[in-house]
């Protein structure tokens, strides 16, 4: 083995029923490098990672690890840990009903002299780990009490705390905002300097250029190439991933026109949900795209959930289309023409064991009622249409949704809501885990919906994405709507408002 190399994979091939997920893929990881693994949704990134960590049982190929003679075949994640591979998977897979500390140490609990679990010491150590990462949590609280972003940080902390030669991070930043991402990068650089090889998967190109040393690109399960970062500028990277040039990505939607009409679609007065979001007022016009910005845990999602009835509002009043309404649960909101794409795909989005077709028609069917089933022909027609619009990569309509790649699952849920043709659509991190090409398509789609007079509430940790689509932005801080910006929307002005450097101007 070449010197400095910690891990090589050669000729990895892996087939799922109906899908060749990987074919003859090579990958080489060196000591002390951060290596980006790039590719479109469904390219095979997560599959390759799962081959390395023993979750997938690949059919052909060999994996070698420095210091171990002969090919290594991991049969479980535990095997992988034993040979020094530590992983954060795309979907957070911790135990929501255990405490943060328990999640950090599960499977490797410190023991007392009496062979009982040393709770005191691990609570203390956990608190230190999280403090070092600059995350303020109470480690004795159950994990489910924290937002998805915090959960993601806990998963990262857990992986990082294990002694490892190889650290794999599969889209760890998808629900983090800039500040957390920066913390993670500091950590990654520190580990790199200690000689750890890091595999990093992300769909945020800036992040690749911020921390990575080298890039491997996959396309449709094939190895495209391995490049030092300096040799693969952004445009070339996108071209390598997509197999074609994407016409000026950055420009998409930048010059969008304001399609807002005078009539109000949504008018919330003093709406609140105890414990998550303080009373707020919000008006959304027909044909308007309103953004919600704020730090993690600032109540962005919670604001939307209070409108939609996902968390029933405790106070305040809501008018939809000029009429005063009462929403007790999501179906009430849906019957008023609303839809909500939630941010936590695994917990609140996909119905894992139902097919792509069933997942996509679920909301429309729920709206129609139990005794008015959509005919099979109608279902297939709708599903075919949206699979095409959203470019969902799936073996068939009857494939179980859990077998799709993360980004494609996200597209399915987006499709579920588009099929209901809502007048008011809440999109909470709609492009999470979605590749660059499709991201641009989705932004275009949002503008098109607005052009048709639909109203959209757009929540995202990526400010640039909102700038491209929104004409107005609500700013959240500590569960409170503190500001609203409707002109001079720039990265700086929004960041400033979020941080609280600007006086309220309402």
């Amino acid at each position: 083995m070449e010197e400095n190399v910690v891990l090589t994979a050669r000729g990895i091939t892996m087939t799922f029923p109906g899908v060749k997920a990987l074919e003859d893929v090579d990958f080489t990881l060196r000591r002390g490098e951060i290596h980006a693994l790039m590719g479109e949704n469904g390219a095979g990134k997560s599959t390759l990672i799962k081959c390395l960590t023993g979750i997938n049982d690949f059919e052909a190929g060999e994996i070698h690890i420095a210091g171990i003679d002969g090919p290594v075949k991991n049969h479980s994640t535990r095997d992988a840990q034993n040979v020094g591979i530590s992983t954060v998977y795309q979907e957070v897979n911790l135990c929501p009903n255990l405490s943060v500390a328990e999640n950090l140490f599960i499977g490797r609990e410190p023991m007392t002299a009496f062979h009982t679990i040393d709770r005191k010491s691990y609570n203390k150590r956990s608190q230190k780990i999280m403090d070092d990462l600059g995350i303020s949590v109470d480690v004795t609280q159950n994990l489910e009490n924290y937002s998805l972003a915090i959960q993601q940080m806990v998963a990262i902390a857990r992986a990082v705390d294990m002694d490892c030669k190889v650290l794999i991070l599969d889209e760890p930043t998808s629900s983090l905002d800039d500040e957390e991402v920066e913390k993670l990068f500091v950590l990654m650089r520190r580990l790199r300097d200690q000689g750890v090889g890091i595999i990093f998967v992300t769909h945020f190109l800036e992040q690749v250029y911020a921390v990575c040393d080298r890039i491997t690109v996959l396309r449709d399960g094939h190895f495209v190439g391995e490049y030092p970062i300096a040799e693969l500028p952004r445009v070339k990277l996108v071209a390598a991933m997509m197999g074609k040039n994407l016409d000026d990505l950055e420009e998409i939607g930048k010059e969008h026109e304001n399609t807002a009409e005078d009539k109000l679609e949504i008018s919330a007065k003093g709406l609140s949900h105890t414990g998550t979001v303080k009373p707020f007022d919000l008006d959304i016009h027909k044909g308007e795209v309103v953004g919600v910005a704020g730090l993690l845990g600032s109540g962005r999602s919670e604001l939307a959930r209070a409108i939609y009835g996902a968390d029933k509002a405790n106070t305040g009043s809501l008018e939809v289309d000029g009429k005063s309404v009462k929403i007790n649960q999501p179906i009430d909101a849906m019957n008023l023409g609303m839809g909500m794409l939630p941010d936590d795909r695994k917990a609140e989005g996909i119905i894992q064991d139902l097919s792509v077709r069933e997942n996509m028609i679920l909301a429309l069917q729920a709206k129609q009622g139990m005794f008015k089933p959509l005919s099979r022909a109608k279902q297939e027609e709708l599903v075919d249409e949206y699979i095409k619009v959203l470019q969902v990569k799936t073996a068939s309509k009857e494939t179980l949704v859990k077998q799709l790649s993360g980004g494609n699952q996200q597209k399915v849920i987006l499709g579920r809501w588009l099929i209901t043709q809502p007048d008011f659509l809440i999109l909470d991190e709609p492009t999470r885990g979605i590749d660059v090409g499709t991201k641009a398509e989705i932004q275009k789609l949002i503008l098109k919906l607005a052009g048709e007079g639909k109203s959209i509430l757009f929540i995202s940790s990526e400010i640039s994405e909102m700038l491209r689509t929104c004409s107005r932005m609500a700013i959240m801080r500590d569960g409170e709507k503190v500001n609203e910006l409707d002109h001079d929307l720039t990265q700086e002005s929004v960041m400033k408002a979020i941080a609280g450097g600007e006086q309220n101007n309402d």
Binding site: E59, A310, Q329, P330, I331, M334, M340, P342, A347, E348, G349, I350, I351, Q352, D353, L354, E358, L362, A363, Q365, A366, K367, Q368, G369, M370, F371, K372, P373, L374, R416
Partner: protein
């Protein structure tokens, strides 16, 4: 779309293993009959036999399996839905059967009467009363599980232990006999065919139609797989779980009437005894995960008849009633092991290896 072979469709539908299990049990019969020098297809022989009370009726081991398996099959329908929606089992169905039987017989005989040949109320009132009692029990269970969030096992434990006693209370601590031909009908014959078989078929057809002609099936599975996501998508998760328990209770009521009609009485202590176990096992044998989610009704029903076939086979083999459960347990272990993940993974690996050997020699 390519046309799938019959075999491909069968594997995909998840019915392959349940059917294989059932065939296996039948094969045991054939082997046994060959060994003992009988007609090898004794198990499948159906003859007409003359009875004094019912004229010519169908007779044979397979008819016996279908007939005796009726109650378990009917219960398995409801149990399948409950397991799917709530990832839990309704262990009260056996006791609820008994309560429904008692209530029905009490209505038909009149309170405090222990034996009658004339009906106190029209037959239909008694029968519907019994079935409604089942639905009422289902409502109780459903409320606890869906709206109070009590674990299904614990919630249904209440009626599991109380329902028989309530039945006895209704019957004034007596075994009520309803010796009336019209009531006996549900447990005897319609023409040459045992009525329980017909009732089971009707139940299956109604349920199948309901699942086909409404979105109930998808709702139940969706809620069973991910209740939170289902709610966000507009389903009333709690109400759907609640409904499955009512349906389960309703079918327990029907099974109770059949069981009671067979013996033209309400024998509180024996009707439906241990049948909840058979119903749960039927769901598992049918290839359904007891962890909820996707369900396969046909599988459960095949499972129910498989259990009955095992019992009937054992008796045919001359195994004594006291030892039969041991053999039954062994067979069930084999069948369940055959469907378990490690075995399935092993079989799949062998298939892939075989395919690779045959096709991969390039």
């Amino acid at each position: 779309m390519t046309k799938k072979s019959f075999w491909g469709r069968l594997t995909e539908s998840g019915l392959l293993l349940p059917i294989v299990s059932l065939l296996l049990v039948m094969a045991v019969n054939i082997v046994f009959d060959i060994v003992s020098g009988n007609n090898p297809f004794n198990f499948f022989m159906i003859t007409l036999q003359h009875t004094t009370s019912n004229g010519n009726v169908l007779y044979g081991r397979i008819i016996d399996v279908l007939n005796r398996g009726s109650e378990a099959a009917i219960l398995a329908i409801g149990m399948t839905l409950v397991v799917s929606s709530s990832a839990g089992t309704d262990i009260s169905v056996g006791s609820v059967m008994s309560l429904c039987a008692s209530f029905c017989c009490m209505l038909l005989a009149g309170y405090g009467v222990s034996s009658t040949s004339t009906l106190a109320v029209p037959l239909i009132v008694g029968v519907l009363g019994g079935i409604l009692m089942g639905a009422l029990c289902g409502t109780f269970n459903g409320t606890l599980v869906a709206y109070f969030g009590i674990q299904p096992m614990v919630a249904t434990l209440i009626l599991y232990s109380a329902a028989r006693a309530i039945g006895l209370l209704l019957c004034n601590d007596l075994i009520v006999y309803v010796r009336n031909g019209s009531f006996a009908f549900f447990g005897s014959f319609l023409g040459p065919i045992p009525t329980p078989i017909i009732i089971t078929v009707i139940c299956i057809v109604i349920m199948t139609l309901l699942l086909r002609k409404s979105a109930l099936g998808m709702y139940i599975q969706s809620v069973g797989i991910n209740p939170r996501a289902s709610r966000i998508s507009g389903l009333n998760s709690k109400r759907i779980i609640f409904i499955t328990y009512i349906i389960c209770g309703l079918f327990a009521g029907i099974a109770g009437i059949v069981a009671s009609s067979r013996i033209t009485s309400a024998d509180s202590n024996n009707i439906g005894l241990y049948l909840e176990m058979d119903a749960i096992l039927a769901v598992a044998l049918g290839g359904n995960s007891l962890g909820g989610g996707r369900f396969n009704l046909a599988g459960s029903i095949i499972g129910a008849y498989t259990i009955q076939a095992i019992t009937t086979t054992l008796y045919a083999l001359g195994v004594s009633t006291t030892q039969a459960p041991v053999f039954k347990a062994v067979i069930v272990i084999l069948i369940v092991a055959m469907q378990s993940e490690p075995v399935k993974a092993y079989m799949k690996k062998r298939r892939l290896a075989k395919a690779a050997r045959e096709g991969g020699a390039v």
